[in-house]
Amino acid sequence: MHEASIAHGILRGALAALPDGKKITRITIVAGAQVSVVLESLDLYFQELSRGSLAEGALLDLQQRAGKLVCKSCGQIHEHVRGTPVSMICKTCGGANRLDITNELFLESMEVEDLQDGGAK
């Protein structure tokens, strides 16, 4: 349920960047491979927290980056798909893999449109 806290951070950051006279229709978030976020849960909390704000109803677009399995012997890189077991053995040479992961989590951008009838942030 840490998605509640993340949803709050998304809402806070997006509203702070919102120009006057606009409302938010879509927010793009980029998450590194190390970040554990369940989009359905994140969206549930976001829709609840954003109710009555200029982000109410905005779509969340979560772009989760894949991890990389790097062979310590031959250097070959294979993609690690989240939710699948970490393969310790390199598919190319049979050497030992290392999971190369990142923990970034940031607001990339948002789509906004003109407010029709004013309103407050």
Binding site: M1, H2, S5, I6, G9, I10, R12, G13, A14, A17, L18, P19, K22, I29, Q34, V35, S36, P85, V86, M88, A96, N97, R98, L99, I101, N103, E104, L105, F106, L107, E108, S109, M110, E111, V112, E113
Partner: protein
């Protein structure tokens, strides 16, 4: 109209964590964020580490739990300054909670603050608390496959302590497989095998922990 933002989602927590680090260091404390699943032995390990803390260093503890003061009561009974945080269902500690707790702790450094995070192998890793070190505890009864099943917390660790090593032969725990799993996700973390019950392995851990700048 598209607006670029490029800002950390947890920027507010990150800023509070940076402030925490300044406050900890101003009072002369190094801070260890202890993370593990429920029942791995976080509180037992903290108490063992405090037993071995060098003279002249003051230990303090911040306990995080969903509910109760069970762990804080154990720490307090050992004569150590402690504050309990109850998250009431929350799955991790955040920097702001830790700062409020630390302000309530009396005592000045030099010393070490042990933060016992909520028992959880997923959520706590996302939140910087302003710590100097991330210590992850794994315990033998959980199985030797945990680094592969929960790679992100093991990847974030500076030191990994395998607790309840005295039970390994009874539950067919493959120690070599555990080490290989850790190394698949983390090249740099120190790994120590200990038993808080028997005391085995604690001396090398404490020697390393308390000599690390």
């Amino acid at each position: 109209m598209n607006i670029k933002i490029r800002q950390a989602v947890l920027a507010h927590n990150d800023a509070e964590a940076a402030e925490n680090a300044r406050i900890f260091h101003d009072r002369g404390f190094r801070v260890v964020n202890v993370m593990a699943s429920p029942g791995a032995g976080k509180t037992s390990l903290i108490l063992c580490l405090i037993d071995h803390i060098p003279a002249g260093l003051t230990p303090l503890v911040i306990e995080g739990d969903c509910a109760s003061s069970v762990d804080a009561d154990r720490v307090s009974a050992a004569g150590v300054g402690v504050v309990q945080i109850n998250t009431d269902g929350g799955c991790h500690l955040e920097a702001g909670m830790v700062r409020k707790a630390f302000i309530d702790l009396s005592g000045n450094g030099p010393g070490v603050v042990f933060i016992e995070n909520i028992g959880n192998l997923i959520c706590p890793v996302e939140y910087d608390l302003g710590e100097d070190m991330r210590l992850v505890v794994a315990s033998v009864p959980e199985g030797d496959d945990k680094p592969l099943k929960y790679p992100y917390i093991f990847a974030a660790a500076d030191v990994i302590v395998l607790n309840k090593i005295d039970l390994a032969e009874h539950v067919e725990f493959d120690i070599a497989s555990f080490h290989a799993g850790v190394r698949a996700v983390n090249d740099h973390a120190q790994i120590f095998e200990v038993s808080c019950k028997s005391g085995d392995g604690l001396k090398p851990l404490t020697k390393w922990l308390f000599s690390t700048d």
